[in-house]
């Protein structure tokens, strides 16, 4: 009970983080390869969800462009992976995603609410359909082969990206920049009136979140070996982070991490155990979460804890 309290109160206190880091850094030494690969997938979802939340959490602009940034990373890896060393490829993937996001961010300044959601979705689908057309008519083959990297290396790269993404999310949340983002989400006009340059703040944050998605795409491509536009720009990659972040609750940094970890693990179990019912189960979970947990799992735990302490007060 006390432990639960401490973990939920200060999930990111330095000691625990350090312990977790040591654990995850040494894990490939004493577990089976299957588990390392599973963990890689789970970490991939955590990175995408955390970086999605960096922008969409405080500003409440729901972006469905995650697949676009991820796919850009994947294709960077496919195009230059053979000629450049891995770190360069990953950095290139992140930077191209970053620049693309700056561009999209500047284009979408006037759009809000539903228009922003469908615009970001269209960008991602446009890229997928254009690439499909390009690959079939111009190059003649739909897919591409990517240089394979050993699964332990992939794991460590993902772990490094994850740590960087979490650190960035934490720092942004704690800074004046994060407060500016939050005030944009609360009331954009008021934020502009108190001297926040909403345009610059939104665009830069959007690009930062794309940076990590691009990096993840670039490294995951080397794990998949074969890629095509349908895999790289899979619309599910845009929907998943939204679902995972809302499932976990976007109010705290811990929420998206928790939501992504639980759902990614669940997805893995469901796709292997019930491949024919996977979407059915997933859809049902999605609806139940939206109906009964509007503030996510972390919100539920907090509410339960609040309720508990109130009851204690009443007793004393």
């Amino acid at each position: 009970m006390d432990l639960v309290g401490v973990i939920f109160k200060r999930p990111f206190s330095l000691g625990y983080l350090f312990l977790a880091l040591i654990l995850f850094a040494t894990i490939p030494l004493y577990v089976q390869p299957y588990f390392v690969i599973l963990l890689t997938t789970v970490f991939m979802y955590i990175i995408i969800t955390v970086s999605w939340t960096i922008f969409s959490g405080p500003t409440r602009y729901i972006s469905l462009a995650s697949a676009a940034f991820f796919g850009v990373g994947v294709y960077t890896s496919a195009l230059i992976g053979k000629t450049f060393p891995l770190p360069v490829v990953i950095l290139a993937g992140s930077l191209i995603s970053f620049i693309l996001a700056l561009f999209i961010g500047l284009l979408t300044l006037r759009l809000r609410g539903m228009y922003f959601i469908i615009f970001t979705f269209s960008i991602s689908e446009l890229m997928r359909n254009f690439l499909l057309w390009w690959e079939t008519t111009m190059t003649g083959t739909v897919g591409r082969w990517v240089v394979m990297v050993e699964h332990v290396t992939v794991y460590y790269v993902i772990l490094v990206i994850l740590v960087l993404a979490l650190l960035t999310a934490y720092l942004i949340r704690r800074s004046r920049f994060g407060l500016a983002l939050k005030s944009i989400g609360e009331q954009e006009e008021a934020a502009t009136h108190i001297g926040i340059n909403a345009t610059v703040v939104k665009t830069i944050t959007f690009a930062i979140s794309a940076f990590f998605m691009g990096a993840t795409g670039a490294i995951m491509a080397t794990k998949w070996k074969y890629i095509d536009p349908r895999i790289a720009f899979d619309p599910l990659l845009s929907f998943m982070p939204v679902l995972m972040a809302i499932f976990g609750g976007t109010g705290q940094l811990f929420g998206p991490v928790f939501g992504a970890a639980v759902l990614a693990y669940l997805e893995e179990i469901l796709t292997t155990k019930f491949p024919y019912y996977y979407m059915l189960l997933f859809g049902s979970i999605l609806i139940v979460v939206i109906l009964f947990l509007p503030h996510g799992m972390v919100g539920l735990v907090q509410k339960w804890r609040k309720g508990g302490s109130k009851r204690q007060n009443a007793n004393s």
Binding site: I246, L286, P294
Partner: protein, 292 residues
């Protein structure tokens, strides 16, 4: 003369696609414009209609035009019930209408996954098709399959009937009042929950009409839904959110554009739709008939 028949071919082909686009867009427009539910599972309702028609025709020999009359009302009831339970609950729970728009979008993603999975279990992932009324008809030298002309005729008639329903009947006026201002409409005696559920049902009804027509002229598969949803969203934005007339006109415009692009390169039609859509959002997000 060859140029003329080619143009006629492209134009009538565009009108046929446009008629179906208009039908599905009107359905989505009602669900979003009045109920604020951006129903991304709209295409799944279309898919269900299309596959039910395919099953009825190949197994029992029921004419697709009869299926159309069955599918529409059945899907209306399903849509009505889904709104009465799921979306009404969500609406009551949401702090603001914006929050409801977000949560209902996610809930309809859930519906999309569920319906698509059920369809995959029943009909498998194969591409299906059947031939019905495919004798050719010649119009001024251009040749069309009869089923495509019948589909166009039905799409136009259904759209017109629906338009008159909205503008001339008491229920239609209630729906439009709810779209303008739900709170005032309620004060004026419109039962808002019932009207919203009817709107969602009517959206499903349109999908139930469009599905059988689509199955008559195109190949169908259980994963086809999202593409039609996306087209419907594009048409609704093209015509202006909330404007039924805009959706009807927008459907025909997009159909014609699609037909022209398909004439040059079929692989590029979706790409063209997205480019038009993105440009539209950037230049005139209120659409052709939307209020500025």
């Amino acid at each position: 003369m060859i140029v003329f028949t080619t143009i006629l071919d492209v134009v009538i082909g565009g009108l046929i696609m446009g008629g179906i686009y208009a039908l599905i867009a009107v359905g989505l427009s009602l669900q979003y414009g009045v109920g604020r539910v951006l129903n991304v599972s709209h295409g799944e309702f279309i898919m269900i209609g299309a596959f039910a028609t395919w099953s009825l025709y190949t197994l029992l020999g029921v004419s697709p035009l009869v299926s159309l009359i069955i599918c529409g009302p059945v899907l209306f009831v399903i849509g009505f019930l889904i709104h009465r339970t799921l979306f009404q609950y969500l609406r009551g729970q949401s702090e603001s209408i914006g929050a409801f728009a977000d949560s209902s979008l996610l809930a309809s993603f859930g519906l999309l996954f569920i319906i698509q999975n059920v369809a995959l279990l029943i009909w498998k992932a194969d591409i299906r098709g059947y031939s019905y009324l495919n004798s050719s008809v010649s119009i001024l030298g251009a040749i069309f399959a009869a089923n495509r002309l019948v589909a166009l005729l039905f799409a136009v008639v259904i759209s017109l009937v629906f338009y008159f329903f909205l503008t001339r009947t008491r229920l239609g006026k209630g729906i439009r009042a709810a779209a303008e201002d739900p709170v005032t409409a309620q004060v004026m005696g419109v039962n808002i929950h019932r009207v919203l559920a009817i709107c969602f049902g009517l959206g499903a009804l349109m999908a139930g009409f469009a599905g059988p027509l689509i199955s008559m002229i195109y190949e169908i598969q259980p994963t086809m839904g999202l593409e039609y949803t996306v087209i419907a969203i594009i048409v609704v934005v093209l015509g202006g959110l909330g404007s039924i007339t805009g959706s009807l006109i927008g459907g025909f415009i997009l159909g014609l554009i699609g037909s022209i692009v398909t004439y040059f390169d079929p692989g590029l039609s979706l790409v063209a739709y997205y480019i038009i859509f993105i440009l539209l959002l950037l230049i005139r997000p209120t659409g052709i008939l939307g209020k500025g």
